[in-house]
C-alpha cells in the first residue's frame, strides 16, 4: 500500500501501565490502534518500539507522519514516586519553613493523625535570602548579589540539579526574583531556575511556593525526556510537528513545555477528558442525533480509579489548579497544591479492582482500596481473595469469563463466587443481591462525586450526556446515568484506549486573565475594552506564532463577577457585542440567573462588581474525519449477536437471558435495545432494560436512557 500521499497523525499516550498509540489518516479518518506495556525506567523506549510496530502494522514509513501529539503521566509520577533529582530553594528570609507548615489545615474533622506529603525540597536544601517586597510591590530590601551567589554555591556543592526561587509578593513585583535569577545565571549558567513570579504569579505564598518547587523538581526530568524523545524521532526520520498535551487540554510545543514543565503534570488525564470532547464533536457532525455541542461528562473508569470531567461546548472544563501526590488517597487537602490551569476533574477510588467489604456500621462499602492488577480481583486467579467490582460484574453476567481482554485472561467464576459469597454471608444477603449491591454502591459513589463536582461548577447534571471510557466505564455508565438523571450516554468505539483520540483533538490554545476590580454600575467600559483588547491581541499573537491560520482562531470572553462585598466570584460568559456596546444590564441579568441556578436564590438589589476578565483563544481543532465503519439500512442488530447469556439486573427483574453483541460486527444504523451487552477487546458495555442505543457511523453507540 502506498501511503506517501496521505497525511497521518499520531496520538501517543503514555500511562502508568499502558502506552497507547493511535494513527489517524486525514483523508478518510482511517484509524490504526496499538497498545503496548509502558517500560521503566525509560518510558520513551517502549513508546518508540511501539511506534515502529504500529508503523509496520499500518505499512507506513515514518515520513508519512505529519504530526505527533503526546500526553504523558511522566511528570506527575515523578512527584508521586519522588524520582526527581536534588532540588534547591531560595526563599525570603524568615520563611524557610513555609514548605513544612503548608496551609496549616486539618482536612478531616475527626482524624487526629492525618498524613501530609513530605516537601519536595528538604530543609537542608533551602536557603533564606535577605530581601523583601511589600504587598503593594514596593521593594523594601533588594537582593545582595554576593549573598545570593554564596547561598547558591552551597546548594550547588550539595549537588542540586535545579533551583526554585520564591520571594514574598513576587506576584506583584518580580524585580527581586529576577535580580537573583540574573545573578545566578551569570555565575551558574547551567543551573535551571524556576521563578514563582513566572510559574504561578498569584497571591498566596503556600500555593505559589508549592507550584514553583514542583516545577523546579520535574524540570530536569522533563528536559532530558523531551530531548531524548525528539532526538530519537529525528533519528528515525520523523520531520513533522511534535506537540505535547498540557494540563489544561491544549497542545503546545516542546519549547513551551520546557519553559513551564509543571504544565505537563495533568497531561494524561487531560487526554482522557479531551477524548470525551472528541466523541462529542463526532456526534455533532451527525445531525440525526440532534446533538449540537451539548454538555458532556467524560467518565473514565479503570482498574483502581474513576475520573469525571465536565466538557462544556467542545472544551473540557479547566480549573485553576489541583493537588498532586495526595498523601491520603483522593482526599482534598492531603496533596501538594499546584496552581496552574488544569482540566478540572474529580477522581475517586472506584474501579474494577475496588474491594467490597462490610464496614463498621454493618453496611456494604466499596473502595477506595483496590486489588489493582496484582493480585487483582479474585476471578483473575492470581491469588486475590477479596471480592471486587470485577468479580461482581462477572457473577452478574456482565462480563464474559472467556472473552476478558479479548480472551487473553480467563476469569475464574468459582473464585469470584467464593469471594462474593463470603461477603454476602457477612451482610446477610443472597450472593446475587450482594453482587448487585456492589455494582450499585460503586455506581452511587461515582454518581455522588460527579454530582457534587458538576453542581459546584454551577451546572445541572440532568442536562449531561455521559461518555464512558476506560476498561470498566462502559459497564457502569448506564447505572450512573440513571443516578444522575442524565438522558443519554455514549459507548465510544475503542473505549479502552480513548486518550489518544483526545491527544489528536487538542487545540493550540492560550488562556489569559487580568484582574480588573470595578463596580458594574459605574464601569468605565472604555478601560475594560482596552484591557480585553490587549488580552486578545496577546493571545492571538501566541496562536499565530504557533502557525495557526487567523481564520481558525476562536475567542471566548468571560467576566468574573460577584456582589459588592463578597469574597468569591462566579464566571459569566460575555459576548464581543456586549463588550463593545457596554451592555451592563445584560451582564447583570446573566449574573443573577447563573447565581440563582447555583445557590437557589439571589438578591437583585445588591450592587455587582467585576473582578476580572478572561480571554481564551484557541485554534479550532482539525476537521472531523469522515465516517469509518460500514452502514446498514436495517436496524436489526442480530447479525452482530454472538451469544445469549443470563444477566442479573436487580431484585425486580431477577435473571434474564440477554443478547451479547460483538462490537466489531456492529454496523452504523443498527439499534440495540437493553438489556444488552456489547463486547470488545478492551471493554464490555452494558445497556440496562429499556435503553435504546443507536450505532453511529464512527462505531459509537449513542444510548437514550429508558424513561422512568
Amino acid at each position: 500500500m502506498d501511503n506517501r500521499q496521505d497525511s497521518w497523525r499520531l496520538g501517543l499516550d503514555i500511562g502508568g501501565t499502558f502506552t497507547d498509540l493511535l494513527l489517524v489518516r486525514g483523508t478518510d479518518g482511517r484509524m490504526v490502534l496499538h497498545k503496548v506495556l509502558t517500560t521503566y525506567p525509560d518510558p520513551a523506549a517502549g513508546a518508540l518500539t511501539g511506534l515502529c510496530e504500529l508503523l509496520d502494522l499500518a505499512g507506513l514509513p515514518i515520513t508519512a507522519l505529519d504530526e505527533i501529539v503526546h500526553s504523558t503521566t511522566l511528570a506527575t509520577n515523578a512527584i508521586i514516586e519522588r524520582r526527581g533529582p536534588r532540588t534547591g530553594l531560595l526563599i525570603t528570609a524568615g520563611f524557610r519553613n513555609l514548605l513544612d507548615l503548608g496551609k496549616e489545615q486539618r482536612y478531616d474533622t475527626y482524624d487526629l493523625f492525618l498524613p501530609y506529603p513530605e516537601p519536595l525540597i528538604p530543609l537542608a536544601l533551602r536557603r533564606e535570602i535577605d530581601e523583601r517586597t511589600l504587598a503593594d510591590g514596593t521593594i523594601l530590601r533588594g537582593v545582595t548579589p554576593a549573598q545570593v551567589v554564596a547561598r547558591v554555591r552551597e546548594l550547588v556543592e550539595d549537588g542540586i540539579a535545579g533551583l526554585a526561587i520564591v520571594f514574598l509578593h513576587a506576584y506583584v513585583n518580580p524585580a527581586n526574583e529576577e535580580a537573583a535569577a540574573a545573578t545566578i545565571a551569570a555565575h551558574f549558567p547551567n543551573l535551571p531556575l524556576s521563578l514563582s513570579s513566572q510559574v504561578a504569579p498569584l497571591m498566596g505564598e503556600w500555593k505559589r511556593a508549592s507550584t514553583t518547587t514542583a516545577d523546579a523538581y520535574v524540570r530536569p526530568l522533563v528536559d532530558s525526556y523531551l530531548a531524548h524523545l525528539a532526538a530519537h524521532l529525528r533519528q528515525m526520520g520523523f520531520a513533522g510537528r511534535f506537540s505535547l498535551l498540557l494540563s489544561d487540554g491544549s497542545a503546545a510545543s516542546p519549547e513551551t513545555v520546557r519553559r513551564y514543565p509543571i504544565r505537563l503534570l495533568e497531561s494524561g488525564p487531560a487526554a482522557g477528558a479531551l477524548a470525551g470532547a472528541a466523541v462529542g464533536r463526532r456526534l455533532t457532525a451527525q445531525p440525526a442525533f440532534g446533538f449540537v455541542g451539548d454538555d458532556l461528562l467524560a467518565f473514565d473508569m479503570g482498574g483502581t480509579t474513576a475520573k469525571a470531567c465536565l466538557v462544556e461546548g467542545s472544551r473540557p472544563h479547566v480549573g485553576q489548579g489541583f493537588e498532586a501526590a495526595r498523601a491520603s488517597r483522593f482526599r482534598r487537602g492531603s496533596g501538594l497544591p499546584i496552581a496552574v490551569p488544569s482540566v478540572d476533574l474529580i477522581e475517586i477510588g472506584a474501579g474494577g479492582g475496588s474491594i467490597a467489604y462490610r464496614d463498621e456500621l454493618g453496611l456494604l462499602q466499596v473502595g477506595p482500596q483496590s486489588a489493582a492488577a496484582d493480585p487483582g480481583p479474585a476471578c483473575y486467579g492470581l491469588g486475590g481473595d477479596q471480592p471486587t467490582v470485577t468479580d461482581a460484574n462477572l457473577l452478574l453476567g456482565y462480563l464474559n469469563a472467556d472473552y476478558f481482554l479479548g480472551g487473553r485472561l480467563r476469569l475464574d467464576r468459582d473464585a469470584a463466587e467464593r469471594a462474593v459469597g463470603r461477603l454476602a454471608v457477612a451482610l446477610g444477603l443472597s450472593p446475587s443481591v450482594c453482587a448487585w449491591g456492589i455494582h450499585r454502591v460503586v455506581n452511587e459513589n461515582m454518581a455522588a462525586a460527579a454530582r457534587v463536582h458538576v453542581i459546584e461548577r454551577g451546572h445541572d447534571p440532568r442536562r449531561f450526556t455521559l461518555v464512558a471510557s476506560g476498561g470498566a466505564g462502559p459497564a457502569h455508565v448506564a447505572g450512573i446515568a440513571r443516578l444522575l438523571g442524565a438522558p443519554r450516554y455514549v459507548l465510544p468505539m475503542g473505549a479502552g484506549a480513548l486518550a489518544c483520540l483526545g491527544d489528536l483533538d487538542a487545540p493550540y490554545a492560550l488562556t489569559l486573565e487580568r484582574t480588573h476590580l470595578a463596580r458594574l454600575d459605574s464601569l468605565d467600559w472604555a478601560a475594560v475594552q482596552a484591557v480585553v483588547a490587549d488580552l486578545i491581541a496577546t493571545a492571538r499573537r501566541h496562536l499565530l506564532d504557533a502557525g495557526i491560520a487567523p481564520e481558525r482562531i476562536h475567542l471566548d470572553l468571560a467576566a468574573d463577577m460577584r456582589m459588592v462585598g463578597q469574597v468569591h466570584h462566579i464566571r459569566i460568559p460575555v459576548s464581543r457585542e456586549e463588550l463593545q456596546e457596554g451592555r451592563s444590564s445584560a451582564l447583570c441579568a446573566r449574573f443573577h440567573r447563573y447565581y440563582t441556578q447555583l445557590y437557589a436564590r439571589s438578591n437583585p438589589a445588591m450592587p455587582l462588581e467585576l473582578v476580572g476578565w478572561r480571554v481564551t483563544a484557541q485554534g479550532l481543532p482539525p476537521e472531523t474525519p469522515p465516517p469509518s465503519i460500514p452502514s446498514t439500512d436495517t436496524p436489526d442488530p442480530s447479525p452482530a449477536q454472538k451469544a445469549v447469556r443470563p444477566l442479573y439486573l436487580g431484585e425486580a427483574s431477577g435473571c434474564a437471558e440477554t443478547p451479547i453483541y460483538d462490537r466489531a460486527a456492529l454496523a452504523a444504523g443498527m439499534v440495540l435495545t437493553g438489556p444488552a451487552v456489547v463486547e470488545e477487546r478492551e471493554a464490555t458495555a452494558l445497556l440496562l432494560p429499556g435503553d435504546r442505543g443507536v450505532v453511529d457511523c464512527f462505531g459509537n453507540i449513542v444510548v437514550t436512557v429508558a424513561a422512568v
Binding site: T109, R132, W206, L363, H568
Partner: protein, 543 residues
C-alpha cells in the same frame, strides 16, 4: 422497589447522598459569604436533621463544635413552633449561647423541609458572624448583655417574606453590617439548596418522610459507637489540668466511667463560673466539645449523627465554668472548652494509647485593628497553629490547628489588607515537648508596622497556654508555653495586654515577637530513638 432503607446496600447509598447534600450546603455558604471568616476560614457548619430535630448527617468539613448545637437549636424551634404551625418559606434564626454554639457571634439558621404539606426534615447552618456588637474587650464583661446582640428564636423569613424589621435590628447593632447581613443570607441560601435536594431524594426513593431512614441510620451508628466503647476496659478514668484562665490558673477535672457500652463524662471538680471575662462554657458548648473529642479517639471514621451520641452521658455541675448560668459572659468560651480534649485524652491515655494525643498548642490568633489613611477601618484576623501533642508511636506536627478545622492565614493575604509586616514565621526549635515521641514544635511570628506607617495598630490577642503549657502524657514533657514580647519585654500586669486584651504597635520600631505553644511529648524522653533525635536536629526541630 423493595425497601431501600434497610438493606445494607440501599442504606449505604441513600446515606452517602445525605452527606453529599450537606457538603453542597457547606460549599454554598462559603462561596456566597461576604466575610473572610466564613468565605476563607470557613468557620461554619451545615447539617440535615429529621422531623424531630435529630441529626442525620453533617458536612464533613463542618466546625466540630457546631455539629451538636444544631439539633439543640432545632428542637428548641420545634418546642416553640410545633411542626403543624410551621409553614413553607419559614426560616428561623437564633444566637442563644445556651442553645447554639456557646457565644453570640455564632448565628444558627434553621429551615424546614416539606413534603406533601408536612415537615419531614430540617436543614440547619451555623456560621461565625464577623461581628455581633457589644464590647471588643473580652476580658471585662460581667454578663452576656455586654457581649452583643442577643437574638432569641425568631423568624428571619415568614412564609417566604423577609423579616425586614429583624434584619434592620441586626444591621443597626453590628459593626460592618453589610458583611453580617450578607453572611446571614448565605446561610439561608445554603439551607434552601439542602431542602430542595432532600425533597428530590425522598421522591427518588419513594419515601414519604425521613422517620424510617433516621431510625436505621441512628441504630447503625449507635451500635458501632457502642462497639468502640465496649472495647475499652470497664473502669473509672480520671484526669485534671490547670489552664491559664484570665488572671490566674483554674482547674478542669474529669471522671470518665466506662461500663459496658456506656460512657459517662462528669466534670465535677472543675472551677466555678467566673466573671469578669467570658471564658465560661454553656452546657451546649461543653457537650459539643466533649463529644467531638471522644469521637476523635473512638470512632474517627464514622459518619456521625444523633445515634453516635446515645451511648454518652455528659454531666457538668450547674454553675461551673463548663455549665454556666445565664447571664454569664461567654464570648471566650473556647478558653475553657478547648482544654476538654486535653483532659479527656489524658484520662483515656492508659486505655487508648495511640488513639489519643498529649496536649496541643491550639489555634493561635490575633485580630489587627486600626484605621487606614483614608479613614476606613480594618479588622483582619491572623491565624496560625501551635504544635500537635505527641501520641504513642507518633511525633506531633508543627502548625497543627486544633480543635478546629480552620486554615492558617496567608502572610501575603494578611499583608495586603493591613499596614503590617510579618518579618518571619518559622518553626521554633526546642518548643515541642520532649518525650519518647516528641510534641510538635510551636512557631515564632515576628510582626511590626510597615516602615513609615504613622497610625497605631491594635492587635487584639488573649493567648492561651501562656502560664500552663500543653501537658505531656505517659512521662512526656510539656511543650513550650506561648510568649508575647514587644521590643523584647513581656507586657506588664497593668498593661493593656492583661487589662484589655490587646497590644499596640505605635511606631514601625515596635516589634512584636509571638511564640506559639508547642505540643506535649509522649513517654520518657530517655527512650527517644537516636535516629529520631538526629532527624529532629536536621529538620531544625531541636538544636
Amino acid at each position: 422497589m423493595s425497601n431501600p432503607v434497610l438493606d445494607p446496600a440501599g442504606l449505604q447509598i441513600i446515606w452517602s447522598r445525605l452527606i453529599s447534600i450537606s457538603e453542597e450546603m457547606f460549599t454554598t455558604v462559603w462561596r456566597t459569604a461576604f466575610s473572610p471568616v466564613v468565605a476563607v476560614v470557613q468557620d461554619h457548619g451545615c447539617e440535615i436533621l429529621d422531623a424531630e430535630g435529630n441529626c442525620l448527617a453533617h458536612a464533613p468539613s463542618s466546625m466540630p463544635a457546631f455539629n451538636l448545637a444544631m439539633p439543640v437549636v432545632t428542637r428548641a424551634v420545634l418546642a416553640r413552633h410545633p411542626a403543624t404551625t410551621i409553614q413553607p418559606g419559614d426560616v428561623f434564626v437564633t444566637n442563644d449561647p445556651w442553645l447554639s454554639a456557646g457565644h453570640l457571634p455564632d448565628l444558627c439558621v434553621v429551615t424546614p423541609v416539606f413534603k406533601a404539606d408536612r415537615v419531614v426534615a430540617f436543614c440547619a447552618t451555623i456560621a461565625h458572624a464577623n461581628d455581633i456588637g457589644g464590647t471588643n474587650d473580652d476580658r471585662r464583661p460581667r454578663t452576656v448583655y455586654e457581649e452583643g446582640l442577643q437574638i432569641p428564636i425568631l423568624k428571619l423569613y415568614d412564609r417566604g417574606q423577609r423579616n425586614d424589621t429583624l434584619f434592620a435590628m441586626i444591621a443597626a447593632n453590628v459593626r460592618g453590617p453589610a458583611e453580617v447581613i450578607g453572611d446571614l443570607e448565605a446561610l439561608v441560601a445554603a439551607n434552601e439548596v439542602g431542602a430542595r435536594r432532600i425533597a428530590a431524594l425522598l421522591d427518588e426513593y419513594g419515601l414519604t418522610d425521613t422517620a424510617e431512614l433516621s431510625a436505621a441510620i441512628q441504630a447503625r451508628t449507635e451500635q458501632a459507637v457502642r462497639h468502640a466503647i465496649a472495647a475499652i476496659p470497664d473502669g473509672i478514668y480520671r484526669a485534671s489540668t490547670q489552664f491559664d484562665a484570665l488572671t490566674e490558673p483554674l482547674t478542669l477535672a474529669v471522671t470518665v466511667t466506662v461500663c459496658g457500652s456506656n460512657l459517662t463524662v462528669d466534670y465535677t471538680g472543675s472551677a466555678d463560673e467566673i466573671t469578669p471575662g467570658g471564658i465560661n462554657a454553656t452546657l451546649s458548648y461543653t457537650r459539643a466539645q466533649t463529644f467531638y473529642t471522644l469521637m476523635c479517639a473512638l470512632a474517627p471514621h464514622l459518619p456521625h449523627n444523633e445515634g453516635s451520641l446515645r451511648p454518652f452521658t455528659i454531666v457538668a455541675p450547674e454553675g461551673s465554668i463548663l455549665n454556666c448560668r445565664f447571664p454569664a459572659p461567654v464570648n471566650l468560651r473556647l478558653r475553657s472548652g478547648w482544654h476538654l480534649n486535653t483532659i479527656l485524652f489524658a484520662a483515656l491515655a492508659e486505655v487508648l494509647p495511640g488513639r489519643v494525643m498529649a496536649g496541643s498548642g491550639f489555634l493561635a490568633a490575633f485580630q489587627a485593628r486600626g484605621k487606614r489613611p483614608c479613614g476606613s477601618d480594618f479588622n483582619v484576623p491572623f491565624f496560625a497553629g501551635g504544635g500537635q501533642g505527641a501520641s504513642e508511636g507518633r511525633d506531633g506536627r508543627a502548625g497543627y490547628i486544633y480543635p478546629s478545622t480552620a486554615a492558617g492565614m496567608s502572610v501575603e493575604v494578611f499583608e495586603s489588607c493591613t499596614p503590617l509586616l510579618i518579618h518571619s514565621k518559622a518553626i521554633l526549635p526546642n518548643s515541642g515537648g520532649a518525650g519518647r515521641w516528641r510534641g510538635g514544635p510551636g512557631q515564632r511570628v515576628v510582626v511590626s508596622l510597615l516602615p513609615g506607617w504613622k497610625a497605631p495598630v491594635e492587635l487584639l490577642m488573649t493567648p492561651d497556654r501562656m502560664t500552663c503549657p500543653a501537658p505531656g502524657l505517659a512521662g512526656g514533657k510539656p511543650g513550650a508555653p506561648v510568649r508575647v514580647t514587644v521590643n523584647g519585654c513581656t507586657p506588664a500586669p497593668d498593661s493593656t495586654f492583661y487589662q484589655a486584651g490587646y497590644v499596640t504597635l505605635a511606631t514601625p520600631d515596635d516589634i512584636l515577637v509571638w511564640d506559639l505553644a508547642g505540643g506535649g511529648g509522649w513517654g520518657d524522653p530517655a527512650h527517644r530513638d537516636l535516629a529520631a533525635s538526629r532527624h529532629d536536629r536536621e529538620q531544625g526541630m531541636i538544636t
